[in-house]
């Protein structure tokens, strides 16, 4: 591993070209007791040292630009550079979020058009772009469901239903909104267990949070029946848009009976994941919930685009960010959608699905077990290594680490929780058949190694900057900031 940036620090060194023309020694008009006495121990390095250090750090990462990244449920597709370039134009970067509408028509036009595009894609009535990530989109949707029930003076609804296969954010969000979480089991084919659902609903049911296609990589076929069961008891349906890439332009959550949903722009609309953010999770709502959407939104009048705030939306659940969410990500999503057009969007779903089903077929033909062998894959699928774990004492984690040694990012592992030793594989539509074949070939090789060289798998990764890391020690005695001994170099 490279040194820490603090190790490069030498007292008195700095990047001279970046210093402003400061004329003050001190802020003498600010009372002394409000001023900092000891400077913060930040690095003292040259510009080149900083550039080299962080460039070298970047080279320790796997990324879409450098590696196949079939991370299930994360939709690691190509992030187009042209889109990035368009969003980085100075006029967009320099716009202050509180600039007057007359100085903001360019940005607002893009945001407004994105709202319209997302309405069309989701089959919903209105869209708010402000939620800053999928999880905040979920929070928004559930808070809107809560506001809806409260507006009807219905305060008896205390339960949110969540399938046991759901993303962890679903129950965490429901709890954050003050709901008790009730889990609904999955049946043998990967669908929601309808009998269990019927038994669970009642006047206490606020709603259900569903992903479709589900996190199990299959389409929930009885979705209309599920919607009817919920609506009959006065509950509402939340759609987790994590898997929208699978159905873009093919089927719409609004038509399935959902009342509200979020869209992960960093998945379906190809905005960069940035090493863990920024994401963006706009929320779309149908008839029942549109009035509760968070502000601000963009409206259009005869004179141009205008901000819609609480004044125009009296029932809004309010504001969820300082300004209007991750605007730069919204621009990228808008530009990506403009490159695709309607037909391009459909092809996204088609080729994502083609790639997933092709890999599933080839892997099962090679002897791997699909979690749901009778089902078609959506844009992703699960294989379970339960048999291999038993026969060869090789876990899904071991296989994941061995894939890293082969220069491929590992699929999502141990999620969903209900499938033992699972790998959730999502190739996305932007990968070539050659890459998929290479992945399959590596998996076949690993299967062979399980019998001949299990240590090679158990000791993987051997060809990365570090081998397996001690997470238990890290959590037992967390060291999350560098100690003072490091800055004494300075």
């Amino acid at each position: 591993m490279p040194e820490l940036i603090f190790d490069l620090s030498r007292k008195g060194r700095c990047a001279h070209a970046q210093l402003p023309p400061n004329t003050l020694q001190n802020a003498t008009d600010i009372p002394a007791e409000l001023l900092r006495v000891q400077p913060a121990a930040l690095p003292e390095v040259s510009e080149l040292q900083a550039v080299r250090h962080f460039t070298r750090l970047s080279q320790l990462n796997f990324s879409i630009d450098t590696h196949f990244y079939p991370l299930g449920s994360c939709t690691m597709k190509y992030n187009p550079r042209g889109v990035h370039k368009a969003a980085q134009l100075p006029g967009f970067l320099q716009r202050h979020p509180l600039a007057p509408e007359s100085h903001s028509q360019g940005y607002m036009a893009c945001a407004y058009e994105l709202q319209e595009i997302l309405k069309s894609v989701t089959g919903m009535r209105a869209v708010s772009l402000t939620p800053m990530a999928g999880a905040q989109g979920e929070f928004t949707g559930v808070a809107m469901i809560r506001a809806y029930h409260h507006a009807r003076h219905d305060r008896a609804r205390t339960e949110m239903l969540v399938p046991d296969a759901a993303h962890g954010t679903n129950p965490a969000t429901a709890a954050q909104c003050g709901y008790t979480v009730r889990e609904i089991p999955t049946d043998a084919d990967g669908n929601v267990n309808i009998d269990a659902l019927r038994a669970a609903v009642g006047p206490q049911t606020a709603g259900i949070m569903l992903t479709n296609p589900s996190t199990l990589g299959v389409f929930e076929q009885k979705i209309k029946e599920i919607a009817a069961i919920l609506h009959d008891v006065g509950g509402l349906l939340y759609y987790d848009g994590a898997n929208l890439n699978a159905i873009l332009g093919k089927v719409r959550p609004g038509d399935m009976g959902f009342d509200v949903m979020h869209i992960n722009l960093h998945k379906t609309f190809a905005t960069p994941h940035g090493g863990g953010g920024p994401g963006s999770g706009p929320v779309a709502a149908g008839e029942r919930l549109a009035a509760f959407l968070p502000t601000p939104m963009v409206g259009k009048s005869a004179t141009g685009y205008e901000w819609l705030t609480a004044k125009a939306c009296p029932q809004t659940i309010g504001r969820l960010s300082t300004f209007m969410g991750n605007a730069g990500i919204l621009l990228r999503a808008h530009f990506y959608a403009r490159l695709l057009g309607a037909a391009g969007m459909q092809r996204v779903a088609e080729f994502a699905t083609l790639n997933a089903n092709y890999m599933l077929k080839r892997l099962t033909a090679a002897g791997f077990n699909a979690a749901f062998p009778k089902r078609r894959a959506s844009h992703e699928f699960i294989i379970t290594l339960k048999k291999e774990a038993k026969e060869y004492h090789i876990s899904a984690l071991d296989v994941a680490k061995r894939l890293l040694d082969a220069g491929m990012h590992a699929p999502t592992m141990y999620f969903p929780l209900l499938v033992p030793e699972c790998l959730l594989i999502e190739p996305t539509e932007t990968e070539t058949r050659e890459v998929l074949d290479a992945f399959v070939a590596t998996m076949i090789l690993i299967l062979k190694e399980m019998q001949t060289q299990p240590d090679k798998i158990k000791q993987a990764p051997q060809y990365l900057p570090v081998s397996r890391l001690d997470e238990v020690a890290a959590a037992r005695e967390p060291e999350v900031v560098a100690g003072q001994e490091v800055i004494e170099h300075a």
């Binding site: 006029g91 089927v251 953010g277």
Partner: protein
């Protein structure tokens, strides 16, 4: 099909491996009555050349303005190297570092970021960031509620000179729980929170006291007195600060006798462009003993099987993918790319550079303020110490002045009437190191014309 690489031959062979005739068959598990044949109201596809032209036209519409608005987002010079390096594909197109061995670059950046932010705030620990300043405050308040085992009802004190959008966001996020948000007015003369006001208005016990530094009006609070006052009543102190200002001002960890318990705020001033308000990032620091209630990602240092140093995401047992409904927060991302840029920014600037930026902002603010005070019909509303932003009152309607200056491509500040009608015809004016004396003179000249 802009980014789909399949040749016709690929498709034919892949379908034959799967054993179906067409891609359409792959969707046969979706009930037929739900399937649509196409999307309506989507503009026709563009190629990259046409897209860039469209984008340039849109960006041009909003560009070339002389901006004196602050109010939570600040225009600073960003060294070119910051985003050149941050947007390298290896940083920009990686995901959350779940596979630590394949993500050491991102993880070491997070660890270095956490160290820098903790040092800037003079706090023990930092998380790897949250969405933005306002939502970071909401998370800090939720954290304070989890830490407060004493009080049944959680009362949170929010002064009204905290950014109005922060107050709105806290309301929207925190009101889903049983809690009381108490609005404490500021002193009309100084623009500050005063102990007299607190003694008069506050209940005996409360969970947390939110102290902004500087506050929404750019005014500096008496942080030592306020912090000690809250601690004497058994409450936690949540500092909401401008991180750049902390290169010059006393950092939260040193407020009062014991220091603030949490420090949060908007990371944007540290190397993130204005960009219509996002993506930015929120930071959150706390005491070591409270780390298990800290929400969001945290990177930690550990060792590999050969005893070498390495980094992982740690304390994941707090998080939603493990703890589900009992997680500290539903958050499952940080603002990785923004934090990467900010870490590079802080490295290049160093403590000296940051202090120089803060002092240059301050010198410019003093210059502008002195010149504005000399204009007939303008007065400075609060005569308190301030940092790079202040409130001025005009003797004529602000709206008319704004309209005229906007026509000249000047954004003279934020009209505060929407948020604080009681203050009358006021403008919140900000100036940073990016403005030259000539910019300031031009602004004054045009303002005089418009009044």
């Amino acid at each position: 099909m802009p980014f789909i690489p399949h040749t016709q031959q690929d498709v034919a062979e892949m379908l034959s491996v799967i054993g179906v005739d067409s891609i359409d068959v792959l969707f046969d598990e979706i009930p037929a009555d739900l399937r649509i044949s196409g999307l309506r109201d989507i503009p026709p596809a563009l190629n990259e050349m046409a897209l860039l032209r469209l984008a340039a036209t849109r960006a041009e519409q909003d560009s070339g303005k002389l901006c004196f608005i602050g109010a939570g987002a600040y225009e600073h010079h960003i060294p070119a190297a910051v985003w050149e390096v941050a947007t390298r594909g290896e940083f920009m197109t990686a995901y959350t570092p779940y596979q630590a061995e394949a993500s050491q670059g991102t993880l070491q950046v997070l660890y270095e970021y956490q160290t820098m932010m903790a040092r800037l705030m003079a706090m023990n620990v930092s998380n790897a960031s949250l969405y933005d300043g306002a939502s970071a405050l909401a998370e800090a308040i939720l954290m304070a509620m989890r830490l407060d085992k004493k009080n049944k009802i959680h009362r949170i004190v929010l002064p009204t000179n905290l950014h109005p959008h922060y107050r709105d966001t806290v309301h929207a996020i925190v009101r889903q729980r049983d809690t009381e948000l108490l609005a404490i007015p500021f002193d009309a003369h100084s623009g500050k929170i005063t102990v007299e006001m607190l003694e008069k208005m506050m209940p005996d016990t409360f969970t947390a006291f939110v102290i902004p530094q500087p506050n929404f009006f750019g005014v500096l609070e008496d942080i030592d007195t306020l912090t000690d006052w809250a601690h004497a009543r058994g409450a936690r102190v949540i500092a909401v600060v401008n991180p750049l200002a902390m290169a010059l001002l006393k950092p939260p960890g040193q407020w009062g006798k014991k220091g603030a318990d949490m420090a949060c705020g908007e990371g944007q001033p540290l190397g993130v462009p204005l960009a219509s308000g996002g993506p930015y990032y929120g930071f959150l620091c706390c005491r070591t003993e409270d780390i298990r209630q800290l929400p969001g990602r945290i990177a930690g240092r550990t060792r590999d099987t050969h005893g070498r140093n390495g980094f992982v995401l740690t304390l994941q047992a707090r998080e939603q993918h493990i703890r589900r409904a009992r997680a500290t927060s539903n958050i499952c991302t940080n603002q990785g790319l923004l934090v990467t840029a900010s870490t590079i920014y802080m490295s290049i600037m160093g403590a000296t550079g940051l202090r120089d930026v803060a002092l240059t902002c301050h010198a410019n603010a003093r210059l502008l303020r002195d010149k504005l005070k000399a204009v007939a019909g303008i007065r400075c509303y609060f005569e308190s110490a301030y940092f790079h932003e202040f409130l001025v009152q005009l003797n004529c309607p602000v709206d008319g002045v704004l309209t005229q200056l906007h026509k000249k491509n000047i954004q003279p500040g934020l009209a505060t009437k929407t948020y604080y009608p009681e203050l009358g015809e006021c403008l919140l004016v900000c100036v940073t190191e990016t403005k030259t004396p000539a910019d300031i003179d031009y602004f004054i000249q045009q303002l005089i014309c418009a009044m």
